[in-house]
């Protein structure tokens, strides 16, 4: 071979000027050994591209995107997200939380009555009684149509906790599993407050979308998570 490997590599890597490249091409036509070497170099590049290429097609994890977004105080998309967050936690939600808290405080005073859906434990609003039980055991994929608590989405939030959205007569919301109980991270009035029903369910879905890392659990993953006791 009259052309060294470095030159062949440079040719394959597009490092040669037109004249030098033409010279290699002519040499490859005359010498199958050179043509072979070029083909092998190209094959390696193609193998590497096929192996690593898909990584660049993956969705960038939220933790990396958030890092960049969080650094930027005037980012419009961030401003939009804050706006959405404010809207979700508007007067109606605070009202619902106050109502739930009042309810929870009542329950707190009567712990022998476990039939109420929410309670306050260690300063946090948590699911209790039938709501806690539904969040523990009920699967969205096979729940009775007349179940008193309807499970919506189950997903993992960015800290890895399992969270589930739910609707019931008294309260709708999102509970996240932490320290062996369902901490209620979002609450809105339930079906009993029919006037706000539409808005509440939409804002819950938006809240869930904002909280979740990746996609919501499918039926199989939901079952597996339940069977695993919702441990991270």
């Amino acid at each position: 071979m009259t052309i060294d490997r470095a030159t062949i590599a440079a040719y394959v890597d597009g490092e040669l000027d037109d004249i030098a490249a033409r010279r290699i091409e002519r040499a490859a036509e005359a010498d199958p050994e050179i043509a072979d070497a070029i083909a092998r170099h190209r094959a390696l590049t193609a193998t590497l591209a096929a192996h690593y290429g898909p990584v660049a097609e993956e969705a960038v994890p939220n933790r990396l995107l958030d890092l960049v977004a969080g650094a930027d105080r005037v980012d419009t998309s961030l401003a939009a997200r804050r706006e959405a967050k404010r809207a979700r936690f508007g007067a109606m939600q605070w009202g619902a939380i106050a109502a739930s808290l009042a309810l929870g405080l009542t329950i707190g005073l009567r712990p022998w009555l476990p039939t109420e859906p929410v309670a306050v434990q260690g300063g946090a609003l948590v699911a209790a009684g039938p709501l806690s039980e539904a969040l523990d055991t009920q699967l969205a994929s096979n729940q009775p149509a007349d179940a008193p608590v309807r499970i919506g989405l189950s997903f993992r939030d960015r800290t890895g906790r399992y969270c589930r959205s739910f609707e019931s007569a008294a309260v709708d919301g999102i509970g996240c599993r932490a320290d062996g109980r369902w901490r209620l991270e979002r609450t809105t009035p339930g079906a009993a407050a029919t006037d706000y029903r539409q808005a509440a369910s939409g804002s819950l879905a938006a809240a869930a979308a904002d909280m979740m890392a990746g996609d919501a659990l499918d039926a199989g993953a939901e079952r597996a998570a339940r069977d695993g006791g919702w441990r991270r």
Binding site: A6, A9, D13, A43, A56, V68, A71
Partner: protein, 162 residues
């Protein structure tokens, strides 16, 4: 384009580069995270109008090398020095040709860090030799010789050598 937008646009490629260096997917994303944090903290050092991608690749690569050196000091792996590199590179020649056919991760793991990063920059990320040399802050001749050695080893292990 604004710094943050450009940075976000780079992330898919940066993750790919990090995956090549760190091999393990979550290690690679940890590396990306550290690189982003470093970049945001020292963004004043990036001069507007110069290429953000080269700057980010350099930060990522330097953090990786730091990490490897720290790991070596903790005794997790051998220190990176030229003598060890030579041995590691030559060691692969004793592996049967084509032994790692189809196993790109395994074959890349046989390369010393300094060859692997050049292979990633030129063959995967598509940088010109001169650009790779700037990112790594080494002469072009160093890029071409490391690339040649890395390539040879990969062809041998993957069964694409003559």
């Amino acid at each position: 384009m604004r710094f943050e937008d450009e940075l976000v646009g780079l992330l898919p490629r940066l993750r790919r580069f990090a995956r090549g260096l760190a091999r393990d997917a979550s290690d690679a994303d940890d590396l990306c995270q550290a690189a982003i944090e470093r970049a945001l903290k020292s963004r004043d050092q990036w001069s507007h109008g110069t290429r953000l991608d080269s700057w980010m690749y350099r930060i990522t690569r330097n953090l990786w090398i730091d990490e490897r050196r720290a790991a070596a000091r903790r005794g997790v792996q051998k220190p990176i020095d030229e003598a060890v590199l030579q041995v590691a590179g030559d060691g692969a020649a004793h592996v049967e040709a084509g032994a790692l056919r189809g196993d790109v991760d395994g074959a890349m793991a046989h390369l010393p860090d300094e060859q692997r990063e050049v292979v990633m920059l030129v063959l995967v990320e598509g940088y010109a030799y001169r650009e790779a040399a700037e990112i790594l802050e080494v002469p072009i001749g160093t890029v071409t010789s490391r690339l040649a050695r890395g390539r040879e080893t990969l062809m041998h292990l993957l069964g694409e050598a003559a």
